[in-house]
Symmetry: D2
Subunit: 226 residues, 4 copies
């Protein structure tokens, strides 16, 4: 496994303990983004599904605001909701328009089961569990896209999907990963103490992280089957 980007101590542990992490971050879909060989219709299909994904992902981050313990936790989560709803969604709509997908087409996208499985898993983890369960389920998407952004930027051999690569390797998104990393580390320490990794809870959170990672692999696979 390549070394982990610096998104905090918990991420480094969770990533190390997640058997599906490589299958996710080095998926054929990702390779296709880096070398430009990903078929166009697969990319457009992915963009449309990702639009639906982002809506539910934003809802999950909003749930994190409701489940936070401190104003500082709320503020980071609320800023993430804001970044997703008011910035990333518009960016997405823009990317899609440039690719010939109108907003009304986007909104009419039929959600695929692999997409539904992932977002409902995350939301349900949050509703049934607490703030930590929710963060562990949200983490693979946030951090994985950061790592994939850096990997594809390093391996890039084509401009075809350059916009996508620049979005996720760019300073804005990397900064978001670092601030979410601090949120996760702080939330764990606050609840489970400095030695949080020794708590049985950490094992349960590790399992949540792995399940969400596995569902990310399924999402990429779905992306290759327009």
């Amino acid at each position: 496994m390549t070394s982990a980007p610096h998104y905090g101590a918990a991420f480094a542990r969770w990533r190390e303990g997640a058997p599906s992490w490589t299958a996710y971050t080095q998926h054929a879909f990702v390779q296709g983004l880096a070398d430009g060989r990903l078929p166009r219709d697969a990319f457009l299909h992915y963009l449309k599904q990702d639009y639906v994904f982002l809506i539910h992902f934003s809802r999950a981050w909003a749930l994190a605001v409701a489940k936070a313990d401190t104003l500082a936790e709320m503020t980071v989560a609320a800023a993430t909701v804001n970044a997703l709803v008011n910035e990333e969604m518009s960016l997405h709509v823009g990317l899609c328009e440039a690719a010939g997908i109108s907003q009304s087409t986007l909104e009419a996208t039929a959600e695929r089961d692999e997409n539904l499985a992932y977002t409902r898993y995350v939301l349900e983890a949050g509703y049934s569990g607490d703030f930590l369960d929710l963060l562990a389920a949200l983490a693979p998407c946030v951090f994985g896209y950061g790592e994939i952004g850096l990997l594809t930027a390093a391996q890039r051999s084509s401009d075809t999907y350059g916009d996508w690569i620049e979005t996720y390797s760019g300073e804005d998104y990397q900064g978001l990963c670092r601030s979410v990393g601090e949120l996760v580390d702080g939330a764990l320490e606050r609840r489970l103490g400095q030695d949080y990794a020794a708590s049985p809870r950490f094992g349960h959170l590790q399992a949540r992280f792995e399940t969400a990672t596995r569902l990310e692999v399924g999402f990429w696979g779905m992306g290759l089957r327009p």
Copy 2:
């Protein structure tokens, strides 16, 4: 489509409006239960996944108790939780033991994605929506197994899966379907009035019912792939 079993007025409408209903109730898996040609390992694989399913399904019915408006609604939902946790689970453990699957094997079952997708969809529908959203998502499983019980009992040409068929066509399970049918009809009238089907809400609930039905189709499909 064959005629609907008498599980109430809302079920008859939802079933009529769900494009995937036939694919669900007349799935190859179901045919294989009726004529005994379902491979044994598919059945055992299904039983193990269904054990995991029942745990989450029981949790969803418990959530219905929490989300009910009246003591009468709570009582029906609580009786269903009780029937699931204290009776159907044991029945299931018994069926599995008879088939050579120990309880510890059952408990160690790795949840398949099609299984996870379905139960998290139902639970999330309940948490994010209200009692009606939850009932609409729970309905395809409860009523569908009732209808499939009756269909397989009528078409049965083998004793191989006779126990399964007798469980769901039997009076206990059919009575449960009728009492849940009354719960659903009453809950709709209480919230949306006698003309509930004219409310936009009913269309949204219909969509939930269809999505859950589609996820049932996915569950049968998974059952055929041990």
Copy 3:
């Protein structure tokens, strides 16, 4: 009763149907803000409790983002969270500092039972019900402060609490009330149709609005008992 501010059709109905509305909007505490006779220690005590209130109120609006059906609904709710967490909270911290209450004092405020009762009622309405239940429970605070802002601005005979009065009668806050009013009307029509007031659901929502209004009366009463 004085005429309702123009915050939409549902608000006008709910306000009309809430026996406690006048007790809330014309409470002795409110009169004391307008004529400047509210004791200073009651005002400071109120500001501290309101700080705790705003945290939970922001969590409830975040829950509304998670429970919304459409991107448009999510956007208004997310903007409200943002306004609360990033603007109103800071404004509050500022008002408190000007009044000699440090941020650490604010954060150490012990929550009073009348405060706890109100916010947990709102949050639980949202968790157990749907988006409409949550909006009906959130409405009395949003709209009531708008109306009280206008009333106190009209009746004002002292500058003592001028900042407070100007905040809630000001165009920013009044604009928020109008946009939440549109959100509420649209959410009702989308779910219950144009004739939403004829649905039994509307009666249940009216009851939620009245309960939350009654808890606002309790909050003012608590404000008078430092």
Copy 4:
């Protein structure tokens, strides 16, 4: 403080760390039950409010089923829901009938704010937190009534409220307290390890326990004000 009944290790700690425990378990209302001097109308008023309380308390236990991690946890919580909905509620209806309060009067009871505050606090703790948050908020009622049952049985100097005293000091209820005690201890160990009391989480749970205890004091106080 008198010694704790044997309801488990976590209860002993929480009770020790809750400043309001004595005010709750030795409240004037409780003394009045033991010596029979509690005015009849206060008792009847309490019974009616307690009926409303039990409905929401049952909903909270049902939420615990949904939030449990293991089948064993689900089974205890589901049995508690069942005991509450199908047994304690009927017992309550019977006690009320014997006291001249019809079921329809019971159902028409207007919920008092002290009652609402308590149950919504518990439910919201469960929704926003996890299984442990919910148990910590549920614990003061379950265990406190057990302890009060034993105290009033020991101090009893009148038969006036003998039925009530016998219900809570009786073996059925005491057995429930012990089984909930085991559930709590097991749930803490499973999530936070054997040294759970050293986790910061335990401090947060202690705070929830104290808040719920304080709200019990408010409930008794309300009981004295028909």
